[in-house]
Amino acid sequence: MSDTPQTPPAGERIWNFFASVKLSFSLLLVLAVTSILGTLIPQKESLSAYVQAYGETGTRVIQALRLNDMYHAPWFLLLLACLAVNLVICSLNRLPTTLKLMAKDPQADLKRSPQTQESCTLAGAPDSHLERAQALLQKAVGQVSAGQTDKASVLFAQKGAWSRLGVYVVHLSVIIIMTGAIVGNIWGFAGRMNINEGQTLDSITLDNGQQRPLGFALRLEKFAVSFYEGGSMPSEFRSDVTFLDQGQTVMQAVLRVNDPAEYKGVDFYQASYGQNVGRLEVNVVHGGHKHPVQLEHGRWVDLPDGAGKAILLEARADIHMGEVYHGPAARIGYQVEGSEPMALTAFKAGAPFPARGPVSFEILDLATVQYSGLSVKHDPGVWFIWVGCTLMVVGFFITFYCAHRKVWVRLTPAGKDRTKVELAGSTNKNRLGLKRLLERLGAQMQSKSGE
């Protein structure tokens, strides 16, 4: 029974599980496939949209697996976390071996004698070629170590040992990018502000609907859209803003699409624009009399003559209804004491619509104010992302283009006054490249050996 393999302790088993390359491959494939799934199922739609597309049962499955917000679902994040753990443990597991390979004493390599890949015979004793072989090897590969075996002189050189670290650079870059995303999620925030021309705001609406104070204020001086010549295609959206800190103007900036501005680590992006209704002036028509009144959003206004009260619900500066009507329109909430409130539509005077209800309203003036919609974010993780991305590209470059090559040159006496030159090499990738290098070295040894 002594040969029954002992089950390793749990810690070691978990370590080995996360150190396996098979796990990396599986995780990468699963991540790729599930990511694609997330593009096939529309994300963050309303519940009814899913019911319409996938039926009741389908929707229940989607909800249970959080497929409607897949990239933020716990299981997806868990997969990413597994990948991170996998990368770290894989790296820790292999790094010591790699470092040992890199730091290996050339003298130890010198004694190895890999299979000869190129050979030729030259006139002259081995010693007469030694210096030249050394120079060629030095130029083609690098630092040469020389030694003797019983008969032969052996030269050894290597280059690109550091390239074995390329894969660790890639792993590190993934971890840094993930760190950046986490840092951004924890310590960053994102939201938006709709700001009227001339208005000063010191807080934003976060994506979850809450207000967040900025600690400074922003004033929109002016918003403008410019168009390409002779067309309706916008060429530029631009907001001229002023940053105020403790009441003092500290910075002026122009926000354009693709050209954000930053103050105290908070970035402001031009995102949208539109018109807010500032003030609505109407005539109240009640019992044959007309009275001018100003209506507002969010505040009931008492009408003269005890005609009740009214509030502005919604207004458009310009609506087109074919030949029938063209001009401003507003929806107004109206209530007489002791009865249910109702919604009435108002147009400018003389509009060909019959009045409904006890009163009617005629629009006298609709003042609109331009607003600019800004996306606002603070992301302290973004520099991790850029550093990680750069490292990743560099790491891939090293991994694919730099190889750890070792080259041996053996010079053996071959009969009277002749030398046998043997070339051998080893590499961790791109064997064809090594083969070409050996061929070139062989040719160089032969070509000028007569000189």
Binding site: Y71, F237, F400, N430
Partner: protein, 228 residues
């Protein structure tokens, strides 16, 4: 200028077809080595005309008053894709001296251009979100990457058609295998760089470097798939 650019694009498209046929002829009819030389010469000329077409388009957009680099829509991207395919193939031909690959690689350039010709070639002004140097870098890196994958796919077809799989250790098979690998690597690194430049652009336009939109997700899925 715009008209000349478009005419050149049409001419180049059919030149690629002719050149493909010449490469194919040179490969099948072993004695007709002049066909191969003709094809190479033709390809150089076509590439020059292709370059001229792209440059003229660039200049024309400036004449229209809203100059922008000609990498802004599908038409321009495909024309650029065809250009990178032709260029990459010519570089490989110079390095290896093997003209047979032209019969597999140049048709790709032809089909890319043919697809482009079916689209509206009008030069249009750019939407504000597309006005970014990072976008230009993004398009260039991505399409160079696509060209790398395209050429490697063409070479893989050649590998199979010419029966290299029977003798995978043969010299020709090894050389071809190496070329395919090199092209995939170039494609992979450039696509990675393409995703990065795309991210930088998105960060400056929308304030987010990644928003899990379908295109981003697919590209990262391709990236993961390739690296696995």
């Amino acid at each position: 200028m715009e008209a000349l650019s478009n005419t050149l694009a049409v001419a180049v498209t059919f030149a690629y077809l002719g050149i493909s046929v010449a490469y194919l002829g040179g490969w099948i009819i072993k004695k007709a080595t002049f066909l191969g030389r003709l094809a190479t010469l033709g390809l150089w000329l076509a590439l020059m005309a292709h370059t001229a077409s792209i440059v003229l388009r660039w200049l024309a957009s400036h004449d229209l008053g809203f100059g922008h680099a000609p990498f802004s829509n599908l038409f321009e991207s495909l024309v650029f894709f065809g250009w990178t395919l032709a260029l990459l193939y010519l570089i490989i031909e110079i390095k290896t001296g093997d003209k047979r690959m032209g019969a597999f690689a140049v048709p790709l350039a032809f089909f890319a251009m043919l697809y482009a010709l079916k689209l509206d070639p009008a030069i249009k002004p750019l939407l504000p979100a597309l006005k970014s140097n990072w976008l230009i870098a993004h398009v260039i890196t991505c399409f160079l990457g696509y060209a790398g994958f395209g050429v490697s796919a063409a070479l893989s077809v050649m590998y199979l058609v010419t029966g290299q799989a029977k003798d995978p250790e043969g010299h020709k098979a090894l050389v071809l295998d190496d070329l395919i690998y090199q092209n995939v690597v170039v494609g992979f690194i450039l696509l990675t760089a393409g995703i990065v430049t795309g991210s930088i652009w998105a960060n400056s336009a929308w304030g987010t470097y990644w928003s899990w939109d379908p295109k981003e997700t697919w590209s990262s899925a391709c990236c993961l798939r390739t690296s696995a």
